[in-house]
Symmetry: C2
Subunit: 174 residues, 2 copies
């Protein structure tokens, strides 16, 4: 059974709407998703980098993220034919462990807790595929990286890319 | 550079003394380390399994574990010649994420946070060696499992075994 590792933020958990709302509220700005094309929020507002990461690192930040469209449905189907691991770079925001774990138990209860991985360097993962919005994780990854489109990575080339979960289904389920 | 994955509890963090003290206090018993030869505490007191796991799962349980002798010194030396990851099965006790992370930052600050992994199924790890006291993790692991002696595993055969960190040093540093 082939093994697929799947990232969390911006792949199954819709990070940006919550982040933009919280950012605009806290810093009295009015940024939209369209402003993030090609950038992370930290790259767009480098002077606020530390405060932004503090905001994202707050214990409950990740608890009420919405689901990325179709992720639940497609991953449920994938889990019948592949070994699925959710692999999230939680070590960058250690305050978020509990919120991330509870979010996964709520929305992806069909993925065993034993198949949840909190890591930093994804080179440690032994899987055939890694679906992730951060291409830096593909550099040391031993399988094939599949880039899930997110605003910050739209200009990146050199990887197989999927725009949404229907495209993931086409690759793995058809 | 070869990669060594190292478990936490009973390998670098001295779980049993704290666990026995807490268990004896809570359940008015008088168990000693010698009672655990060949057993986990849950196997020895199956009727209390749920309550024991509740106790271990309390948020601060892992925060004040002592270091296993020589682990710090030997891993510091290993980290000059190997890529070191600390890989702990934290998903069994999700309440313990923060305490485990802070313990590692305190005692193993020379291991990057990016090289800390919280997982359940260690088959997901891509490493050359896994030093662990639980042989069940070796079954799906793609590298070589090295069994670190702990009371519960003393009767187990079939794996390369190390009794202490000096023996680990002999294998990897001589």
């Amino acid at each position: 059974m082939k093994r697929i590792a799947i990232d969390m933020d911006e792949v199954i958990a819709d990070f940006n709407p919550k982040m933009l709302a919280a950012f605009n509220h806290r810093f009295s700005e009015n940024l939209h998703l369209s402003d993030l094309q090609g950038f992370t929020i930290q790259q767009l507002r480098p002077a606020l980098k530390e405060q932004i990461e503090e905001m994202i690192g707050e214990p409950d930040f990740f608890s009420d993220l919405a689901l990325i469209k179709d992720s639940q449905k497609v991953i449920r189907k994938l889990s019948e034919r592949y070994e699925i691991f959710i692999t999230t770079a939680a070590m960058e925001f250690p305050g978020s462990f509990n919120a991330k774990f509870l979010w996964l138990k709520k929305h992806f209860s069909f993925v065993s807790s034993m198949n949840i991985v909190f890591c930093g360097n994804k080179g440690i993962l032994h899987a055939d595929y890694l679906i992730d919005d951060n291409a830096r994780h593909f550099i040391k990854f031993s399988g094939e990286g599949i880039l899930y489109t997110a605003p910050h990575n739209v200009h990146l080339v050199g990887y197989r890319r999927v725009e949404n979960w229907q495209e993931v289904a086409k690759i793995f389920l058809s």
